[in-house]
Symmetry: C2
Subunit: 492 residues, 2 copies
């Protein structure tokens, strides 16, 4: 069929890259660590973005746009945040090129066009945004300020992976300002719920909601809440984070407000984000050795129709029937493509749309016409079935819903069987190595133990689940007393 | 009323800045030449973007995303393009900060993290995109390639103006690849038509379609088509451009395709873009001394309702009636806000929404309730009228359409009376200085004369209108023979 995919068993990592490249989602670029998001992948991102954007607006947020660049003096104002990102920053130092006298036709950086102050390409926008909020917030009447930004950010990662970890990526970052600590914490968990809702009900990917340990917190946050998903290879992936920032940024940028009693106080902050990384999670969680498997609710294309015919007469009859189906499906809001291109044979097209993870494929031939049926193949189970023309659109819509649910159920079953409670160090290591997945274990609560476990096993504490059961126990490494289990895993 | 606006007569340029800042569209930022697009301005941009995006998709284009950075060696590959942008490039030279030993708590650029090759922050994406297309195009079957990108770009302008000219701005850039010259030219003019359609029918701004002289062409283009609009002060503004790039980029990046006869040829290219600059045009073209005037079809908010009452009883009655109106308008797709906040008096709110250019304001008081009417004020003419509750939504929808048309008509009348044909140098200069607007005059067709006229008058040739009448005449400056008139103007 042309495009061979490495199997998961053979090489999971290569399988993933094959899917991204051969499925047409993205391509490598000429810029180190940056990718090109191809039209098929970008449409997927648009679908995800549109759903999230609607959710943000329904929860009272508005979009705005802040500068790409952060002057160094602002960048370093919140020290922990600056420290956390300093090692992976793209830095603009000059603003002009000039012709290179030594190389005709070539250009060189003009040393006379050096900036007085270097500009950091935003790795995240707290600094530039809180510096702006200073001018926007004076009184409690200006609060809450509920703003989101869709933007590109740059983090100079040393080891990159398509979608999962790229030097430039697309994301949204919410930045809100509140009069009270309670309201800010409420916002933080509300947005975590929005993320969980989106990832579970649209991306068909079950998540654990939790809070990070201090070691794993966002630089500059008081608390980082997260949703953690499980991939097919048993590794965890952080799918979204929501940070309670306390008054750290308000203090760094001197953002105060006067309350109803005219008393001045620093403003409380949150920030929260998800990125194109989610596409990596989507691919890794659901796909198989034949290609992508995409949840119908966000798939770039939900239904493809392929004609099978000999001669123009048969083709004309099929065309007429397909036109009816396409019109009915489009009217019902289903995205559908009729692929009657003559460049490829039906078998090649079948493989191609399997590779691209189109949820439903309809094949229609001359005999089908006679029998008043079509052949419908679902991508998730690869099951094929004859469907009557009568009521076909309703049947397809029901099938799309069934596929969405089935993909979720499968991922959930995998996740649920891969949360293992262990009580000893041996079990812990063995589970990580052999069974993989989340390991629920007691930990003594110290950063030192957490660090040691990471060094020894490469497993990190993914989160302390929300509403975690309190239970006396002993730390798997030190044997020291513990009050609750936490979720460990190796992670992307 | 708090927010004073400078009048147009007093200081046109300050009037414009006042509208942008006090109307809540944008704010200055801490980064030289970069602005913050505030929620009200960003919603306006979202509305414009959504309409354009739909138009692009309806004409067969898909979106994708290419890297923010362009390695210097790619940037300089198409020499004319590189030359055109070299003097206004932000350049990334380093990828890491480190703590500054001389300044505790501060950071400095790590000299050891210098990039081997500098990265240019894209001022436009032809180079990075055509370098990518090389891998995507082999055969005529891969053509046409019709891709658009929504992105931020950076041009290090020395003199910046909010929206009109900022170091970073948001835009879309279409980049298409074709098998034939004819098809590429057709694409170029098709997209010019899309832009004209959008600017005239959504932004209510009449434009002249034309082609640029070689002097004013996009760097690297064979031909630049443009739409030119006229502002209230009689200066022109280039509202969008569509470039026929010939085979220049295909040759620079060695992008060839084999045709049906297996013959190799370079691919033909176009690119086209509009940006947040359009918002500047919108503001300058329509607004008045009381604030913004926004065309209903893209206004962030179309209708605002303000209650006028004494006591809770009256308020409750008004609330009930307004709830009906709001529901009916929303069901009809009209965006509407009920501003019953107690922080401000009705008069203050009236001024505020005038400032923000909300097309329709409805005021409703206790006596109105008794009389079964509301007071409706339209922003464009400031006319106030009583409307009956009965059939109010239909009346409001008709009013919005009328406002859209009226704004367009007004701009068109102004534009049409400001295209002046002149035949002598004295008339030319006098018209530019006193009447302002477009001046239609004969030009001898040489870049030297064009340059001289620019030096002497600051007027440039905005365009040679499409389907321009051919007419023998004499150049206004040199007296040399000319075959057609061209449109001159001073411009933003």
């Amino acid at each position: 069929m042309g495009k061979e995919i490495t199997s998961r068993e053979q090489d999971y990592s290569q399988w993933y890259n094959d899917l991204i490249i051969k499925g047409g989602l993205a391509d490598y670029s000429a810029v180190r660590g940056c990718m090109v998001i191809k039209p098929y992948g970008y449409t997927l991102w648009e679908n995800m973005r549109d759903v999230l954007d609607k959710m943000f607006k329904e929860t009272g947020h508005v979009n705005a746009y802040f500068p790409l660049f952060v002057p160094k003096s602002l960048f370093e104002a919140e020290e922990k945040n600056a420290e956390g990102f300093a090692k992976e920053c793209a830095i603009v130092t000059h603003y002009r090129l000039k012709t290179d006298p030594d190389n005709p036709g070539k250009l060189k950086v003009d040393p006379e066009a050096k900036l007085d102050e270097e500009l950091i390409v935003r790795p995240t926008s707290e600094a530039i945004i809180w510096n702006t909020y200073k001018g926007w917030i004076q009184s409690y009447r200006d609060l809450p300020l509920l703003i989101n930004q869709w933007a590109n950010v740059v983090r100079w990662e040393m080891r990159t992976r398509l979608f999962l970890r790229t030097a430039e990526f697309l994301w949204q970052e919410g930045h809100t300002a509140h009069a009270t600590k309670e309201e800010a914490i409420q916002e933080t968990t509300k947005m975590l719920d929005v993320y969980a809702d989106f990832v579970e009900n649209w991306m068909a990917l079950p998540v654990v909601k939790g809070v990070k340990t201090p070691n794993e917190r966002f630089a500059g946050a008081e608390d980082t809440y997260c949703i953690e998903a499980l991939m097919q290879d048993g590794k965890a992936l952080q799918a979204g984070t929501s940070h309670f920032l306390g008054q750290n940024f308000a203090k760094a940028f001197d953002v105060k407000f006067s309350d109803k009693e005219n008393k001045l106080d620093y403003v409380w902050a949150t920030s929260w984000g998800v990125s194109t990384r989610l596409i990596g999670a989507l691919v890794m969680a659901h796909s198989d050795d034949d290609g992508l498997i995409l949840p119908p609710k966000i798939a770039p294309l939900q239904v493809v129709i392929v004609p099978i015919y000999k001669g123009d007469d048969q083709k004309a009859q099929i065309d007429a029937k397909v036109a009816e189906i396409v019109a009915a499906l489009k009217a019902a809001g289903v995205s559908v493509k009729y692929d009657d291109s003559e460049n490829a044979r039906p078998g090649w097209k079948f493989a191609e749309y399997e590779m691209k993870g189109v949820p439903v494929r309809i094949a229609i031939g001359a005999r089908d016409l006679e029998n008043n049926v079509v052949e419908v193949a679902r991508r998730d189970t690869k099951e094929k079935k004859s469907y009557s023309f009568d009521g076909l659109p309703q049947q397809i819509i029901a099938l799309l819903a069934d596929i969405q649910q089935n993909i979720y159920n499968k991922a959930k079953a995998h996740r649920d069987t891969h949360i293992t409670s262990v009580d000893t160090w041996d079990e812990f290591v063995k589970t990580l190595d052999e069974k993989t997945g989340f390991v629920s274990a007691h930990w003594d609560g110290t950063p030192e133990t957490e660090e040691k476990i990471k060094d020894m096993t490469k497993a990190t504490i993914r989160c302390i689940p929300l509403n975690n059961a309190q239970e006396a126990g002993k730390c798997i490494l030190t044997g020291n007393p513990s009050t609750q289990r936490v979720l460990f895993a190796r992670a992307y």
